[in-house]
């Protein structure tokens, strides 16, 4: 490859070189007549050349290297300029640049294209492909057409947009894979590993994640005000909120693909919550935006005397942004009876999450925290508390996702997972975060009084799961087939019917960290599922009457490296055990499971009938040249014969809820063409 590339010099040297000492070293003892000895000469790091092969070797160790080292001279972390053109924020805040650091990969190439993302700048209106940003090995940067630099002056070019959206997504993925979050490489829900990103898909107020095409698609639309400049086209790919929200759908679909098939409105709402949570957490993490909010509000954030008022002001500042609007609300579950709109329903959970954020910050203000604190006893300002809480939310809100059942998630499931995750990461919990979380979810009525009573009962951290046939963890985690044998041997104990075939939905090993970046015990996560047939019998199922659908059942078992069960969340079916093996005193458990499964089944039928009556189920109308946007119903029925499956449709956004209201009037006709 020729001479190794010279690394860039940086302006500053290390503190040790500047001051002669580093923080922990004792000063050298002076002697009476000899000047203090100096640190021995060594080669300046600016003279060190790194060959491409050496760089690849370092890359293979990247996760073990400190961030500052990875950042050093763009060795393994490269700076990219991103541009926020947020249509939902006040004009003065709408446009901002931000520099983000993205991990270098050996295979970075034109697009941009990296291991997990491929930017394809295709426009469906013009039928043309925009030239891609080109990876320039020499400058270690993407360049535009004819090698043009993609600095701030190029912000109006599509190549800049391509790099901007790619860099945002790379950072967002890293946020989820970080040990403070899920602590593992996360998959996508489709066959393949590269999420296609279309930054300028065509004209429209839309953005969505689509599993079928393995893509995130971002549309653009004209100026929304008559007085706007013609150049004020709004590109959704430049809105961090929109990009992060849609990415949240892709992440959740990747880690829980079977959620897509749930007709439970809370599962669709959970998807919306995930999108909003992603937008919220990544916004809170962004220094530039945080600083801008504080400055533009006339220092109200700095002057806020309480965290609550700070949080409220932040909430007000983002209120115009639909993906963050849900954060500031008082909605409870009782406000949402018979609510079928996933957006509205998700408000309860997003609001609860914001409550958690504020409560975390308040605890930090009151007690301090020893998360790498230099002066733990000094009174914390609201802004410091807010920032701490924002960072803490990464593990409080994201780590529990791994505990969720593989099929259908309710808000209560998530709340239980959050509480359990808190227990696992902080068993002694001197700050009573566990109690705080229970209270937040209780106040929102996500937990009932009974739930609260059970959760507050003293219990051991680990309870032995009563299993008939023990398998070593090493065996279980070896492969899905091996994990299946473990599950099959223990059907009765795990409440899986004897005569029902089931599959291992996922099996993986996560290395998470918690406070002070301390490692948590490994989590080996095993998800399994099966389908129970459900007949749609009766006129309330409309055109689906007489057909058969399935209710997904299953569970998620989480082990630590010693084979202790850290968590078991499951969704039972309505069928009894049915096996011939002698029962092992599980009659009560099975009775409860069957009762719960029957209730799930009845609820499924009620919900489906309601969806059908409301005209929310249709088929996608499309062509080789694309889908009809106005004809994308909230749920899609698939399958021509006797069997039918209902899936959540691509999450189209930015359009109004008028279509849903219309559907209620004209039923399924809403999704048919009027000729």
């Amino acid at each position: 490859m020729g001479n190794a590339k010279k690394t860039k010099t940086t302006a500053k040297s290390s503190p040790a070189a500047m001051n002669g000492t580093s923080a922990g070293d004792p000063p050298p003892a002076p002697t009476a007549s000899v000047t203090p000895s100096r640190a021995p000469n060594r080669k300046s790091i600016s003279d060190v050349h790194i060959s491409p092969d050496t760089r690849v070797s370092l890359y293979s160790l990247a996760r073990a290297l400190p961030r500052e080292l990875r950042k050093e001279r763009g060795l393994l972390l490269l700076p990219f300029l991103t541009y926020f053109q947020d249509p939902f924020v006040a004009r003065d805040l709408r446009k901002a640049f931000d520099e983000v650091l993205v991990a270098w990969e050996p295979g970075l190439t034109d697009g941009p294209t990296s291991s997990r993302f491929a930017i394809v700048d295709y426009n469906a209106d013009t039928g043309t492909l925009e030239p891609p940003a080109v990876w320039d090995e020499e400058s270690q940067a993407f360049v535009g057409v004819a090698g043009a630099s993609l600095d701030a002056s190029a912000a109006g070019t599509f190549q800049f947009h391509q790099v901007s959206v790619w860099a945002l997504l790379q950072c967002a993925l890293e946020f989820f894979e970080d040990a403070s979050a899920l602590g593992r490489t996360i998959p996508w829900a489709f066959e393949g590993n590269r999420l296609i990103v279309v930054p300028h898909a065509s004209y429209g107020q839309n953005a969505y994640y689509d599993r079928a095409s393995k893509s995130l698609q971002f549309y653009y639309f004209g100026p929304e005000e008559e007085t706007s400049e013609p150049a004020d086209t709004i590109y959704t790919c430049l809105s961090s909120d929109i990009v992060h929200h849609e990415f949240g759908h892709a992440v959740l679909d990747g880690i829980r693909p079977l959620f897509n098939e749930s007709s439970h409105p809370q599962t669709a709402a959970f998807h919306e919550f995930m999108g909003d949570l992603t937008a919220l957490l990544l916004t809170l993490k962004n220094d530039t935006l945080r600083r801008q909010m504080a400055e533009s509000s006339g220092g109200r954030f700095r002057d806020a005397t309480t965290l609550a008022s700070l949080a409220e002001q932040f909430g007000q500042a983002v209120k115009g942004r639909p993906y963050l609007r849900n954060a500031l609300n008082d909605s409870k579950m009782s406000d949402m009876v018979n609510e079928m709109s996933p957006h509205r329903l998700s408000e309860v959970l997003t609001g609860a999450t914001y409550d958690v954020l504020i409560a975390l910050g308040e605890r930090y203000q009151e007690r301090g925290e020893d998360d790498a604190e230099e002066e733990p006893t000094k009174k914390k300002t609201p802004i410091q508390a807010f920032q701490f809480a924002s960072d803490r939310m990464q593990r409080t809100a994201i780590q529990p996702l791994d505990l969720l059942p593989p099929v259908e998630a309710t808000f209560r499931d998530y709340a239980l997972a959050v509480c359990r995750s808190q227990q696992l990461s902080d068993p002694l919990d001197p700050g009573d975060y566990y109690g705080m979380l229970i209270k937040v979810f209780r106040d929102r009525e996500i937990f009932s009084a009974d739930d609260e009573a059970v959760l507050r009962e003293p219990r051991y951290l680990y309870e032995r799961l009563d299993l008939s046939v023990r398998h070593s963890l090493d065996n279980i985690s070896r492969s899905r087939a091996a994990a299946y044998r473990f599950l099959d041997d223990n059907r009765e104990d795990l409440l899986i019917p004897a005569n029902r075939d089931f599959f291992v939905a996922d099996l993986y090993d996560a290395r998470k960290r918690f406070r002070q970046n301390l490692p948590l015990p490994r989590q080996i996560v095993l998800q399994y599922a099966w389908r129970e047939e459900v007949l749609l019998d009766g006129p309330r199922f409309g055109r689906f009457s007489g057909r058969i659908t399935t209710m997904l059942c299953g569970g998620t078992l989480v082990f630590n490296e010693n084979g202790n069960v850290l968590s078991w969340m499951h969704k039972p079916g309505s069928e009894p055990y049915g096996g011939k093996r002698p029962r092992r005193g599980k009659a009560d458990e099975w009775a409860n499971a069957v009762r719960e499964g029957a209730a799930r089944k009845a609820a499924l039928l009620e919900l489906l009938a309601a969806q059908i009556a409301a005209g929310h189920i249709g088929t996608l109308l499309g062509s080789p040249n694309g889908l009809m946007a106005s004809m994308v119903p909230p749920m899609i029925a698939e399958g021509d014969g006797e069997l039918v499956r209902f899936q959540l449709s691509p999450h189209l956004h930015l359009s109004s809820d008028e279509d849903l209201a219309k559907a209620a009037e004209t039923g399924e006709r809403q999704w048919e063409i009027s000729c």
Binding site: T128, P132, R194, G222, N625, A629, R669, E672
Partner: protein
């Protein structure tokens, strides 16, 4: 002729061909409202030939006189039959077209622009040669070149052959016709400001924005939509094809919207004769409630404009809209959601076709010109059964089919009908309930090529 007004709905499958004969001097006044159908032309030619035999003599020898042709809107199931060859023995005195069809109408620029855009996109799709789903093919077929030809026949050839100019009509216009005594014709729709009422600012801005940005973004000399774009280097050809098929198509979206808007540009006539009120609604639709400045259904606009005048009282006859589609007849009041206005669209049907109270029987009449052939849910039998409570000329078709020994499962037997279970899903549960007279089932049972509704003068 007698002293009764005749309304004759020819059986033309899924289409309209409605003849109205108003008694009066000089052989009366003869109107043809629409002449079209989807699919083959045979039934249309047959209908026109039959009609010719019913008309009074014209001024020239061997010619017959037709006083007025009304083409409610430009869809082929309403205009395909206006073939000048079939009308060569008929002297047409007046031709009325929707004002939206006037290419020069300044207040229809948006709608016409939308039509042109949709036509271009759909023709590109058809020309691409790719396989299309039946629904998309049906939509695309509405923008075929043959539709332009049908437009021209109606707007140019037929008028020219008759030495007249077409008249582009709108609500509130004076008809200027020489009508028989005690006869009046009110044009209730479309409104003259077509873009304002039926397109709306949002859709208009959306289309303008789309066209403007597309023009600025398409490189000079770029490939047309029909040609295949270059293949991206970083994804496979298969992935790219799937991606293209899963992106949002503005062409399809606007074509679907345009198709609905065209229905809402239908000429709606209220004919008053001897104190009888007869409503012909073309394919007018309703959509939620009226919204100022936004895209509206025609029924919503008519209710907004005429509820205290022409629509404040019941009618004696309704030509059921859009072949019995669910959204072409205003919804019954009992289906009103709690959030809907009590005096909005849910009040229309009870006003114009009230359900009689007590032991009274309905006196109004209706006819449905339809065939379940192209669209699964058209006609919407639930809607027809509700209409049957409000009109007198109804029939329980299940019973009549039994009397004639006709197995109802033998009626809908095309591949599409079997696949989509036309009988089981859309007809079976309603055959034994009264429905207004339907051209399709009257043809099957009695072999009727047309349905007649006779309206006596009020007071008889």
């Amino acid at each position: 002729m007698g002293n009764q007004l005749l309304i004759r709905a020819y059986n033309v499958g899924c289409g309209d061909c409605i003849y109205v004969r108003i008694p009066g001097p000089n052989g009366g006044f003869h109107i043809l409202i629409d002449c079209g159908k989807k699919g083959s032309d045979e039934l249309l030619e047959k209908a026109v030939k039959h009609l010719e035999g019913e008309l009074p003599p014209g001024s020239a020898p061997d010619k017959k006189r037709l006083d007025l042709i009304v083409a409610t809107h430009r869809h082929e199931d309403h205009i395909k039959g206006f073939d000048p060859r079939w009308f060569e023995n008929i002297e047409v005195k007046n031709i009325w077209l929707s004002v939206a069809m006037d290419p020069k109408h300044p207040q229809a620029k948006g709608v016409n622009g939308l039509h042109d855009f949709a036509a271009k996109a759909m023709r590109g799709l058809m020309a691409s040669g790719q396989a299309l789903s039946p629904e998309v093919e049906l939509l695309a077929s509405m923008y075929g070149v043959s539709n332009d030809a049908a437009d021209r026949l109606l707007m140019e050839t037929l008028p020219k052959n008759n030495g007249i100019q077409p008249r582009y009509v709108h609500s509130g216009m004076k008809h200027g016709l020489d009508l028989p005594p005690d006869t009046e014709i009110h044009i209730l729709a479309p409104e003259k400001d077509v873009d304002h009422f039926y397109l709306g600012e949002e859709l208009d801005a959306s289309l303008k924005g789309l066209q403007g940005l597309t023009a600025s973004l398409a490189p000079a000399g770029a490939a047309t939509a029909a040609a295949a774009p270059a293949q991206p280097a970083n994804i496979s050809a298969t992935d790219f094809r799937v991606l293209q098929s899963r992106m949002l198509s503005n062409g399809l979206a606007f074509a679907a919207k345009e198709s609905s808007i065209q229905n809402n540009l239908s000429v709606v006539l209220l004919i008053e004769w001897k104190k009888r009120r007869l409503l012909f609604v073309g394919d007018a639709e309703w959509e939620g409630e009226f919204k100022e400045g936004k895209h509206n259904g025609s029924w919503n606009v008519m209710w907004e404009k005429h509820r205290t005048t022409h629509l404040k009282e019941p009618v004696d006859f309704l030509k059921v809209g859009h072949h019995g589609s669910i959204n072409a007849t205003p919804p019954p009041a009992e289906t009103r959601p709690k959030t809907a206005l009590p005096d909005g669209i849910y009040a229309v049907l009870d006003t114009i076709l009230p359900v009689p109270t007590g032991d009274a029987k309905p006196t109004a009449q209706a006819v449905v010109s339809t065939e379940r052939e192209f669209y699964n849910p058209i006609p919407e039998c639930k809607r027809l059964v509700d209409l049957a409570r409000r009109v007198s000329n109804t029939s329980s078709y299940g019973e009549r089919l039994k009397q004639k020994d006709i197995d109802p499962t033998s009626i809908w037997t095309t591949t599409k009908a079997k696949k989509n279970k036309f009988f089981e899903k859309f007809e079976k549960d309603f055959l034994d309930q009264p429905q207004p007279m339907r051209t399709d089932l009257e043809f099957v049972i009695e072999g009727r090529d047309f349905l007649d509704v006779e309206i006596p003068p009020r007071g008889n």
